[in-house]
Amino acid sequence: MALGALAAAVLCGCSGASTPGSHSGDSRTPATAATPTQAGTPAPRAKKEPRTHVSEEEARKARPDLPPDQRALLVTGQPGQPEDRWIDAEAAEGAGYTLLDLSDDWTPFIFEEQQSAEGEPLPNRYRRIFLGLANDELDEDGEPLEPGSKNYLELYGIPPSLSVLRARFVQDEQHPCHDQESADAIEAVETVTYVAPADLKKDARRLAKVREELEKARKKAHIATNEELAEKQPAFAPKVKMLARRAAEKPAMAAVERRLTCEGLLGGKLKHTEGIYDDAMRLAVRRFQQKHMIYEANYLRRKTVDALARPLLDNDYDDLTRALRERVVAAAAIIEDGSASKNAHSLVDDYLKAALDQLQFTDGAAALAFFKRHPAAEFKRLRVAIKLPARPDYYSDNMDLSIVVDRGDVWYDLPFTADGHYKPQPRKKYPSLTLYTKAGGKQVALARWRTTIGGWRSEQASNGYEYFRYKGSDVGPRVIRNVVSGPVWIAPASTPIRSLTKGKTVNGKWQRVVNYDELGPGYLSAYGLIAGYFVVPGQNGRPDWDNGVRAHGSSDYLSIYSAAGFSHGCHRLPNHIAIRMYSFILQHRNMTIVGDKSMNFARQFLSKETAFEIRLPSRGYYYVLDPPLPVNVLEGEIKGDAKKPVAGYVAMPWNKYPPGLPVPAAPEGAEAKAGGGGGGTTSAGGDD
């Protein structure tokens, strides 16, 4: 069946259907001149040489003599008996193979090394940091990581390199950290109840009271066990169940502690007290979730507990599969991940399966065997040759793509009552972002993801105090002209100061510094690793109008998936999804690479007795879509009484303000909304 599909794929490559090459979108029309809004000389994308047609037999010839940058690995042999063969990479491409890049210097398209039409390099400042983070060599500032430290940033859009994964497999084989007794203890629970350290005594008293109550009832009814009591007097059943669950959680917690300690995640500087979900435990759980890309709050909830019960190599295999998924998606330049509708087909899954099958990565043991056959040094430059299915007919180098953002259910009412109590604003329909292409005169949804819209946010007014302000998401047609990788968010003057500083060890001294995590470029920044800027196109020679709204990556994944999650007006996507989407758009639309867009921004603010100076040397790395990508933001369904958002500042009922201090007027206009200079056209900035 698989062979049949492969044969079909090869044939389809000659019949007009698009076969993914190693560098999809490579034979593209060079982009025309940049828009008038762009500074500097734009550089059209370099055109690559067309590939020659090569026979299958010729392509599969062993070429162990070739240097690493000219060869590719072909895995052959019967299932379970893989045989590795080095072949000529160029010949493989000519025969319809896709070169899947497993090198340690792989990045997604948005951080790839680019050149101008004249062959001049257009370096991306963040590429080095992305690679350093993926290889556990640098921290988020680009400074060397302490030896032995791990980044675990897949959850934030930076998958580990193959060398990092190789080391993980090899180490975990030697230190399995897994025994059946512990696994059974963990599997016996679905979650572990979180009790804050401050509430431990209170919780113990509550449990003792319940035990006492059941004991009395049991004696009174002359019943031997609590289980029997629950059966005969169902009113007690919930309490019996709760006690049993809490009892099972103790050994589960102990097993989790053993596992996290063995994995090197628990212990170290922060002291942990056994059996207590303290800060050390919370951080260890968070690291575990980051390591295995588990989207859950930092507690022992279902997905986290399930992963903790599994053998390490099984988790490692899943980590490898996800890392390969991003590389397969990049190599094939596809996007259809099955999210477009309930019954949508996942091209991504199909392609990933084809890659896993051909590499014979059937499970953790098979992947471990592969890593043992290939030393770490080989991953400096390693490409594998695989055959992928044909892409759908609607694929081309210049697809008719567009985005629709549906705001879902929208509330404009104040989120609290007059006496300061929180007022819930439930939503049934959450906001979504859909990427479409036009095929055969119809709009075809390629992917649809949950996103965010704006809502009530804290802002710092000119008097230094915080107020609420409704930061809505604009409705109506827009376009994305600029796509920026490694974008910088220039915090508007109204950004609460408390979010603009952080503690950091600087050259051996703990001190407060400007929080560049938030500003970027970086995976934690307000704009994540990539952003597309929504603008209203300028007419009659006027510049575009930018109201500070973007669709961008975000590390704040809980805000995207939370019922109460809102942005400041932007549409957030998890970083890895945003990277996929914009890589796809850039590979399938005419575009121009402007490259690094320098600026020399500096702004000071006061926090306590120190002035902090924000210094941003670059806006990010610019790609210009030409023509721009159409976007339509649907209004959604307005809930509640207010049919329009409240303008201006609203005092927070739980905040204290000096007596008589008037509520200041909120700044209006794009500048105030977007803030200072970050890449728009008429406005300068951006806000999340």
Partner: protein, 154 residues
């Protein structure tokens, strides 16, 4: 002569403090503006030069990087620091007598100038983020109360 002394000092510092070196130079020290695209650095040296100045330039200021004092910005004389290219940013604190200390950052992508404006302590209310203090410990009533409970700005 002055240049020679500073040059010798720089050499000594380079030996002692490598890879971090520092030297104060005269006002005419030349460095490209920050923000030059990194493409320009393709044939650049292994190190970058960071020129620290303070505004007003008549002020004397010290520049610290964590535990280490990088040097002094003398009146009308910048502090020049050399760092390995792409070795990560320097988060420094600039202190001038009678002024609010400033925490700022210098980058190592390329040669750059960091001109730090210092604000006298009695003018800190001119800085963004300054806020009027509460009159007393109990803080007073919410601002919304004086005008009869309106929460909204005008």
């Amino acid at each position: 002569m002055r240049r020679m002394r500073w040059g010798l000092a720089a050499l000594a510092a380079a030996i002692v403090l490598a890879p971090l070196t520092m030297a104060a130079v005269a006002d005419d020290a030349v460095a490209p503006e920050a923000g030059t695209p990194p493409a320009a650095a393709k044939t650049a040296s292994k190190n970058v030069r960071i020129v620290f100045t303070v505004l007003p330039s008549s002020k004397k200021a010290t520049v610290s990087w964590g535990k280490k004092k990088l040097g002094v910005i003398a009146p009308h004389a910048p502090l020049i620091v050399q760092r390995p290219r792409d070795s990560g940013p320097l988060d420094v604190v600039v202190r001038a007598e009678g002024c609010v200390p400033v925490q700022t950052r210098a980058y190592t992508f390329e040669d750059s100038k960091v001109a730090v404006k210092v604000t006298p302590n009695d003018q800190k209310n001119t800085l963004l983020g300054y806020r009027e203090e509460m009159p007393n410990a109990d803080g007073g009533a919410p601002a919304s109360n004086p005008d009869g409970g309106a929460f909204f700005s005008r």
